[in-house]
Amino acid sequence: MAAHAPTTTPAEPAGAGHPPTRTPPDEVARRSRREGRAYRRAPYVYIAPFFLLFGAFGLFPLVYTVWISFQEYRLGGGDPEFVGWDNYVWLFGSPSFYNSLWKTLTIGLISTVPQLLMALGLAHLLNMNMRVRAFFRVSMIVPYATSLVAATLVFASIFANTPGGLMNVVLGMVGIDPINWTNGNWTAQIAIATIVTWHWTGYNALIYLAGMQSIPKDLYEAASIDGAGRFRQFLHVTVPGLRPTILFTIVLSTIGATQLFTEPFLFGNGAEGGALGQYQVLTLYMYNIGFEIGRLGRAAAIACVTLIIVIALVLLNTGLAFLRTRDKSQPLLRRRRGASSKKVSR
């Protein structure tokens, strides 16, 4: 939608260029102005339903949350009472907040990084010529299509603390003692990161696969003529060509990691995130304060701070990736553009 359209003076009326007909000229001008107005308004009318719904279900909750974050407001009791910045002061003095920030970061890292690397590798394999390719591609999406709740419950029994838990049995085969998965600090985080990785790897692999298929084939031909093997092709053709796609998945994963909720919530059967807060990520902390402790004002403050953190992280990631793109891949991109234009001219 053109944002500035209504603010600028109306452009030449649509019919102004036509020679005058039998109707008086001012009448023509008026009618065409009217048509012009309707024409210009139409897009706004078409797009209005989205904005009305967005206003009701997107923007209003956002504004309302900001408002609540300045109130003392208990779940199930009393009216909100204005307290200024108290909730934010409390939040930045709360050790649990810093713990949850740290856990969000560590779980985010140990789930996102292996996930994206594995997705890249899988996409590369899927991009090769192989038998029953469709089967492998479809099976990639199966974890993503599986109910997260069901999957988490299955993983919770795989990572059960008892010696009979599947993971402990497997570890027992290589002589490792049973691990107390949910109560350990890193073990709990690794278990949760495993669920996240399992759920999203295939999804990201398919996005990478789509990106790979848009890389011109002649780049690979040129590379193989230059004597580059499969791996070098992957490193020097596929990865640089995928930069925009990788950037996209990094942004999505960052948002996803910051909003991680279902996996730790179900893994620990509540929002405490373990007895020592081993996996109490930001959203879990927010839920704990808001709906278990019942302090909605404080929970709203956490929500607002989380939003700012998400925006900051996305900007940071985008900025970093952009810098890298500008530093390194400029010549390649130019080369690629040259290659594809050559293709067109052929």
């Binding site: 206003g55 209003f60 504004v63 408002w67 199930g76 059967n269 405490e272 402790i293 996305v314």
Partner: protein, 439 residues
């Protein structure tokens, strides 16, 4: 994230948002439901809706009380829905109260929420003293009625059941370990908490380290339930940090965990449920309602393997209990109050307990059921055991943040049990968490 290209559209939608915000803020509670409640018209057809948790209404249905009431009152239809977890139920209920709509005609309230309800929801619920069924409250204990009494003296619910405490144990496992399995003989060995733990050490020694208690949290619960105060004093001030209940009980429970007497399970976790069947622990602090839970989880194959032991030193404690509350805004208030009164009457509650369901809060019903025994628990005289425990139970003052305090202390105990954190350090952790969340 939502991105905008038009500043004008943002302003317009923001204005819309702020307007609806103002509208939402206006939809507060109404005061017109506060007056006295009359009797329901017996000829007018009425559907009473109920939103419940934790099997309260499932039990009424099992006991035949709902059918009985609808037969006696042909104009009444009862429709109930129920969730298992009280925490889920409470979140949904509290959200409805905050938004000002959506409550059913009858909503049960759990006793751990009573302090919050009594201090902050006096405009939401019907004062039962202002209804024709007010007399029935005289049969209830001061502790139960006091829990839902507001500062102005309004009583916001009718007590449904009580949770007097005892100890349930696996008599078969004790016998295998060479310990007395008969409750009378066992009671001679377990004369206080110290001997309860030392018998546990004998059990562990005889069974190659099998767990004596189900969980450190359950032990802490029974220890605190018999004391005159818990987290708050009579004036409603939090005293948990320094009183004679919380810290000593914490230390004792943490000590039992360090001795390896606990099974390392979290109550109501799937693994804990399974352990009831397999006998991975020998004893469990059990309020009256736990008996039904044990039967369900341990299954028919364990009938006769369980028994019930009263707490040592004739101590009594209470864990749990609920109230039936009727919203002031309910369109069927009169009929709902009458149904709630029927379900919590002495006859109905006694009936329920005789059928092996909830234990009555109503003292008249407790007297009627002194002779009740339970075959599943080796014919234990549970009517007598729980009645004695209920009478000995202290009238503990409740507080608004009991839930948050109990949660933090429970977490700290788990840290001792599962993470090997030293009790002192775990206590400091709990203090910090509580001051952080409650302060």
């Amino acid at each position: 994230m939502h991105r905008f290209r038009s500043r004008r559209a943002v302003t317009a939608v923001a204005a819309l948002g702020v307007t609806s915000l103002g509208l939402a803020a206006c939809g507060g509670s109404s005061a017109d439901g506060a007056g006295p409640v009359g009797t329901a018209d017996p000829d007018e057809a009425v559907t009473i809706t109920v939103d419940s948790f934790g099997g309260i209404f499932a039990n009424y249905e099992k006991a035949g009380l709902l059918d009985q009431y609808q037969e006696e009152h042909p104009n009444v239809t009862i429709e109930y829905s129920e969730v298992q977890q009280e925490s889920d139920y409470w979140t949904a209920l509290a959200t409805k109260i905050n938004s000002g709509s959506g409550l059913a005609d009858i909503q049960p309230l759990e006793i751990s929420r009573a302090a919050l309800v009594a201090s902050q929801q006096q405009d939401v619920w019907t004062d039962m003293l202002q209804t024709p069924v007010a007399d029935q409250l005289e049969e209830e204990t001061d502790a139960a009625v006091g829990a839902v009494t507001t500062q102005d003296g309004a009583v916001l619910g009718l007590p449904t059941d009580a949770g007097p405490m005892a100890i349930c144990y696996r008599s078969d496992k004790l016998e295998e370990a060479g310990l007395p399995s008969d409750p009378a003989e066992l009671a001679q060995q377990i004369t206080d908490w110290d001997s309860y733990e030392s018998v546990g050490e004998q059990y562990a020694a005889a069974t190659d380290g099998a767990a004596w208690m189900d969980s450190v949290g359950g032990y802490y619960r029974v220890l605190t339930s018999v004391e005159p105060v818990r987290n708050y004093d009579e004036e409603g001030e939090p005293t948990w940090e320094s009183n004679d209940t919380v810290r000593p009980s914490f230390d004792r429970a943490a000590g039992a965990a360090e001795k390896g007497l606990t099974a390392g399970l979290s109550q109501f976790d799937p693994a804990w449920n399974t352990a009831m069947n397999t006998g991975d622990f020998a004893t469990i602090a059990c309020p009256a309602w736990m008996l039904g839970y044990i039967k369900q989880q341990a299954g028919d194959e364990n009938a006769g393997n369980w028994d019930v032991l009263p707490l040592p030193q004739q101590l009594g404690g209470n864990w749990g209990g609920s109230f039936l509350a009727v919203p002031q805004d309910s369109p069927n208030r009169e009929a709902a109050v009458e149904l709630a009164a029927f379900l919590t009457s002495a006859d109905a509650e006694a009936d329920e307990f005789r059928q092996g369901l909830a234990y009555p809060s109503n003292t008249a019903a407790q007297e009627q059921t002194l002779d009740v025994t339970d075959e599943y628990f080796n014919g234990a005289p549970i009517g007598e055991i729980f009645s004695t425990a209920a009478q000995a139970a202290p009238n503990q003052p409740l507080g608004v943040d009991d839930g948050a305090i109990d949660q933090a202390i429970g977490d700290a105990l788990t840290a001792v049990e599962a993470n090997g954190v030293a009790p002192d350090e775990a206590w400091q952790l709990a203090v910090r968490t509580i001051n952080d969340t409650v302060g």
